[in-house]
Symmetry: C2
C-alpha cells in the first residue's frame, strides 16, 4: 500500500469535484439507495472482512461483528433520513408584494452539500469510524463526495470496504469518483489532502495531536475550511455517596467492564472517577480493584498505540500523589494493554496538568475529594469533554443538580447512572463537546446530526417554482416538514 503522491491526490480531488457537480443533483431517494447498496455490499464481503479486520486490529470477532452491524446500521439510518427528507431544514417565507414601505420578496432556504470531504479513517473503529463509517455515510448522505485516507493500521480492511463502495456506486449507476480511497502513512499525505484547494471540509477521529495539526493547517489555508476533529477526552464519572452506599459492587462491575472493553480503546472510556473520601468510596475501590485484577490484558490495535499506552500509563503512575490501586493479575504480553486503576487526592490532581491528559487504553484514575466543593473544583478545572457521567441515587441527584449545570459548560453528553462507552447511533446523540474534545462543538460526529457538518444553507430569492429544488416547491411534492412563514407543517 503505497502512500498517495501529490499528483494522485490532485487527480483524486479534481475527479471528485467533477463527480460532485453530478452527484449533488441526485435525489434523496437515489442517495438512500446508494447507502443501502453500500451496506449490502459490506454484508456481501462476509467473513473475509471480519477475518482481515481481526488480523489487522486484534479486536475480537464479537466486537467486529457488532461493529459491522453498527456500520451498516448507520448507512441505513442515513438512508431512512434521506427517504423521509425533512432533514434539509426547508424554510419558506412567501412574498408580500404590497407590504409598506417596501414589498417583501419570496425567500426560500434549505441545506445544500458543501463539496468534497476528506475523511481520515480512525484506528480504533476499523469499520464504524473508518472507510464507510459515520463520516463517509453522513457526507455521502449530504450529497458530498468523499476522499478517504485509510488508517495505516488496517489497510486491507479499508481496501475491502472501499471495494464494496465502488461496487455499490457501479450498481447504482453513479460516478465512481464520488468516492476515492487513498493510502498514507506519512503525515505529508494528510497535509496535502487538507491543503488541496478543492477540499471543502475534513472529518477526523483520533488523537489531539493529529486533529489539532489538521485544524491548524486548515485555518492557515488561503481559504480556511472546517475541520471536524473528534480528539477524545477523559470522560469524568462523578460518584455520589448514596449511590456508592447502596450499590458499590454493581457500579464497580459496570465501570470495570467499560474501562477495559476493547482494551480501553474508546474515546468515551471513563478516564477519571471522582468520589468523596468515605467508607463507601473505599469499599467501591476495593470492588473495582478486585474486578480489574480479574480482567485479562488484551492486545491493542497496533504496536504504536500499545507502546504509547505503556508510556502514558507509566508517566501517569509516577506523578506526585498517584497510587496504583490495582492491575490485572495476568501479566501483559507484547502489545497488550494492562488493565490499571490508580488513585490520587483532588488537590494533587488540580495542581498537575499531566493528570488531565487522556491515557488511551485500559486505565482510569480515581480522584478522592474531601467534599463536594472539591468535586466541583475538579469539574471546573477540566477541559472540554465528549461525555460526563453522574452515578447517583435519584434523591441526591435532585439535591445536587448544580453538578449537571457545571457539566453543561463543556460537555457534549451527560449520562445519569450508566457508562459513557456505547455511543448510540440515533437522532438525539451528541458526540462532541467543547475544545479539545472536538474542534467545533456546534456539531456531532455520531447520529443523524452528523450530516449537518457537510451542508450549508443557501437562500433562493424570487425563484420561479420550476427552478426550485423539490424540497422548496410550492406543492411540497416530497411531503416533507417545512417552516412556512414561521409555522411548521407539510402544507
Amino acid at each position: 500500500m503505497k502512500d498517495a503522491t501529490y499528483t494522485e491526490i490532485d487527480e483524486a480531488l479534481k475527479n471528485a469535484q467533477e463527480a460532485f457537480l453530478a452527484y449533488r443533483h441526485t435525489s434523496g431517494k437515489q442517495k438512500a439507495n446508494l447507502l443501502r447498496t453500500i451496506a449490502a455490499e459490506i454484508e456481501n464481503l462476509g467473513s473475509e472482512l471480519i477475518t482481515i479486520a481481526m488480523e489487522e486490529s486484534h479486536l475480537p470477532e464479537a466486537r467486529l461483528l457488532g461493529e459491522r452491524g453498527r456500520t451498516t446500521g448507520q448507512l441505513k439510518l442515513f438512508a431512512d433520513l434521506l427517504e423521509e427528507g425533512s432533514w434539509v431544514e426547508a424554510s419558506i417565507d412567501t412574498a408580500i408584494p404590497d407590504r409598506q414601505p417596501l414589498p417583501k420578496p419570496d425567500l426560500r432556504k434549505m441545506l445544500f452539500p458543501l463539496g468534497n470531504i476528506v475523511v481520515f479513517g480512525a484506528s480504533n473503529f476499523p469499520l464504524a469510524f473508518s472507510t464507510a463509517g459515520g463520516d463517509t455515510a453522513s457526507a455521502l448522505a449530504a450529497g458530498c463526495t468523499v476522499v478517504v485516507k485509510a488508517h495505516p493500521a488496517h489497510p486491507e480492511t479499508s481496501g475491502l470496504v472501499a471495494k464494496a463502495i465502488a461496487t455499490a456506486l457501479e450498481k447504482c449507476g453513479l460516478p465512481q469518483h464520488i468516492f476515492t480511497h487513498l493510502y498514507g502513512k506519512h503525515i505529508e499525505v494528510g497535509k496535502n489532502l487538507v491543503m488541496h484547494p478543492l477540499t471543502n471540509a475534513v472529518a477526523f477521529t483520533g488523537s489531539y495531536i493529529g486533529g489539532k495539526a489538521l485544524f491548524d493547517l486548515a485555518s492557515q489555508r488561503k481559504v480556511p475550511i472546517p475541520v471536524f476533529a473528534e480528539m477524545g477526552s477523559i470522560n469524568p464519572v462523578l460518584l455520589l455517596p448514596d449511590a456508592l452506599k447502596s450499590r458499590a459492587e454493581s457500579i464497580a462491575q459496570q465501570l470495570a467492564n467499560s474501562i477495559t472493553a476493547s482494551a480501553g480503546q474508546f474515546c468515551t472510556k471513563a478516564g477519571i472517577l471522582i468520589g468523596i473520601e468515605s467508607n463507601e468510596l473505599t469499599d467501591f475501590i476495593q470492588h473495582l480493584s478486585s474486578f480489574i485484577s480479574q480482567i485479562k490484558p488484551a492486545t491493542m490495535l497496533y504496536d504504536g498505540i500499545a507502546n504509547n499506552y505503556d508510556y502514558q500509563r507509566k508517566i501517569a503512575l509516577v506523578q506526585t500523589g498517584v497510587n496504583l490501586e490495582a492491575q490485572s493479575a495476568t501479566e501483559a504480553q507484547k502489545d497488550e494493554a494492562m488493565p490499571t486503576i490508580a488513585s490520587v487526592m483532588a488537590q494533587d490532581f488540580l495542581k498537575n496538568p499531566t493528570l488531565h491528559e487522556e491515557v488511551f487504553g485500559a486505565y482510569a484514575l480515581i480522584i478522592k475529594c474531601k467534599h463536594k466543593d472539591e468535586m466541583q473544583q475538579i469539574i471546573q478545572s477540566l477541559e472540554g469533554q465528549l461525555t460526563a457521567t453522574i452515578i447517583a441515587e435519584k434523591e441526591e441527584l435532585l439535591k445536587h443538580k448544580d453538578l449537571v449545570d457545571d457539566l453543561k459548560n463543556n460537555v457534549g453528553r451527560i449520562i445519569i447512572n450508566g457508562v459513557p462507552t456505547g455511543v448510540e447511533v440515533c437522532h438525539s446523540m451528541q458526540h462532541g463537546g467543547t475544545f479539545p474534545a472536538t474542534t467545533d462543538a456546534h456539531f456531532t460526529s455520531v447520529g443523524t446530526g452528523a450530516i449537518k457538518r457537510f451542508v450549508r444553507p443557501i437562500c433562493l430569492q424570487n425563484f420561479p417554482d420550476e427552478l426550485l429544488p423539490s424540497e422548496l416547491q410550492a406543492s411540497n411534492p416530497l411531503n416533507i416538514w417545512r417552516l412556512t412563514n414561521g409555522k411548521w407543517g407539510k402544507d
Copy 2:
C-alpha cells in the same frame, strides 16, 4: 470615550460569566420579555437617538428611522421565536430496555447557550448591526451574555442604545452584566476581547482585514473559539440578454439605486455587473450611466471610510482595460462618495485579482463577456459571495439554469430579478456565503437562523424527568415541535 483597558475587559468577562450562570436558566418567555423591553426602550429614546446617529453616521433620517424599525423588528422577531419555542431542536429517543444485544438508553438532545459572546459593532449599520443589532439580539435570545465593543464611528449612538439595554435589564429584574458596553479605537481592545479565556464566541461585521485578523487570533488561542465574521463581497449580478432587450432602462434604474443607496455602504451592494457584449448591453450601460450621472454624491460614514473609497476607486480605475463609464455630474465634497460605473473586458477581469476586490462605496464594475462561456468563467473565478443576482427573462433563465448551479458553489443567497441590497430579516434569510464572504458558511448573521451560532447541542442520557429542561420533558409542557424517535410532532 476611553478605550477599555485590559483590567476592564477582564472584569467585564468575569462579570459576564457570573451573569451567564444565572441567565442561562431564564425561560424562553423571560428572554422574549427582555428583547421586547429592549425594543421598547430603544423606541423610548425617541428623536434623540436618530439625531445623534445622523450626526455620527451622516446617514439620512429616513434611512435611520428605517434602521431603527429593523432593529426593534429583529428583537421582536427573536422574541416571537422564543415564545414559540421549537427553535431549540428538541430531539427525543426513548429507551428500549429489552433491545438485543444491548438495551437502548433514553437520549434527549437540545440546544444550549455557548456562554459569553463578544460582539463588534459595525460602522455601516449604527443600529441594526451594532449595539442592539442582530448579533446582540440573537446572542441574548440564545441565552448568552453579550460584551459589545462599540464601533468608534458612532460612540454616542452606541452608548445611548447600551443605556436602553441596561434599563431593560433592570426593568426585567435581570443581572446587569448580561450586557456590557465597552469602547475601543485601538486594535488592542478587540484583541484582548477575543483572546480572553472567558470569551466563548465572537460576532463581527466589517472588513476582510478586520474579520480575518480576529479569526486568526481566535484560531491560535489555546482553546480556539468560533468567530462569525461577515466580511462583505462583490455580489455579482448576471445580466442575461433577453432581459436587457426587453427592459434595459428599468433594470438600469433599479441597479443605479441599489449601487448608490446609503453611499454604496452595504455589504450586499452589487459590485460587478456581468453581461454579454451586444447592442442590448450597450443600451443598458447608457441608461445606467445616465442614472448614475444624475445621482448626487452622499457623505460617507466617517472620514476613514471615505478616504478608503477614494483610494480603492482610484486604484480600480487605473487597472489595465478599465474604462470609466460614468460618474455623478455633481462634484463630490469632502467625505462624499462619488457614484461611479466603470467597465472592463472579461479577459482583463480574469487576469487581474485587484478587480475581484470589494470597493466599499458607490462603485460598480461592468464586465463585458464575449459569450456565455466567459460569463461562467467569471463566476468560477470568484471567491465566496454573500449574494449573486440573475437578471433574466423566465425562458432564458430556465434555458441557462446551469448558471444557478455554478453560483451554488460559493454564494449564500441567489436572487432572481431583484437587487441584492435589502436583506430581509426572516426565517428563510441566509446572510453568509463561503469564505471570504464569511468565516463559517454553515451559519447566517441575519434572520432567526442567526441564533444557531451561539448554541450547541447537549445530549442528556437517562435523565429523570424532573431534571430535564421543560423542552425535553415527557409531557412537552411548552407544546413545542420535537423529533420523537425520528418523527416530528408535539406529542
